[in-house]
Amino acid sequence: GESVGLHLPTLSVQEGDNSIINCAYSNSASDYFIWYKQESGKGPQFIIDIRSNMDKRQGQRVTVLLNKTVKHLSLQIAATQPGDSAVYFCAETISGGYQKVTFGTGTKLQVIP
């Protein structure tokens, strides 16, 4: 289940199940969104991105869904594996020029073997 508050939100998932990580973004002008994965002791790593003219994009075992109406983004991981355990960040930006990328607060995914 999920826990929020002072600690990093955590999602615990059984190995082999599907994971869904949610993110609410803040800027309605943002038109490009990215998901990053950060393993313990490492820097964030790009997973998948999506432009605002799309509502779904699929990668290998991952799918990103975008709902611009409610400013919501989700990352679905199929058949979650122990190697998926990490902190996942959504990020938003406005394309064009030198716009900064703003990261969300992150969700910790724990995969239970």
Binding site: L6, H7, L8, Y32, I34, Q38, G41, K42, G43, P44, Q45, F46, D49, R51, V87, F89, T93, S95, Y98, K100, V101, T102, F103, T105, G106, K108
Partner: protein, 116 residues
């Protein structure tokens, strides 16, 4: 070969000291960044340089001074270190362009700074 490297990986120092963190990327990118990640994992941009020119400067104390001697290097110097500076600092790089890849940032392994 490491794409984005940072030195040192760990830095423990006392309040009031001055320290530097170095970053190098061998990806041929033209834009580099410094981020600060706090104990709650919140990742916030500090600075961004494009071809050695400062393009993003968030509300960071002027004790922090970035320097980019060339587009493959971006160093961060911190004066008069304070307890609140303790965090993990990440360097990142990207290549500007019109495609989606211009927003894909490659991060270094981080430098954990502890101020005592």
């Amino acid at each position: 070969d490491t794409a984005v490297s940072q030195t040192p990986k760990y830095l423990v120092t006392q309040m009031g000291n001055d320290k530097s963190i170095k970053c190098e990327q061998n990806l041929g990118h033209d834009t580099m960044y410094w981020y600060k990640q706090d104990s709650k994992k919140f990742l916030k941009i500090m600075f961004s340089y494009n071809n050695k020119e400062l393009i993003i400067n968030e509300t960071v104390p002027n004790r922090f001074s970035p320097k980019s001697p060339d587009k493959a290097h971006l160093n961060l110097h911190i004066n008069s270190l304070e307890l609140g500076d303790s965090a993990v600092y990440f360097c990142a790089s990207s290549q500007t362009g019109t495609g989606a890849s211009s927003y894909e940032q490659y991060f270094g392994p981080g430098t954990r700074l502890t101020v005592t």
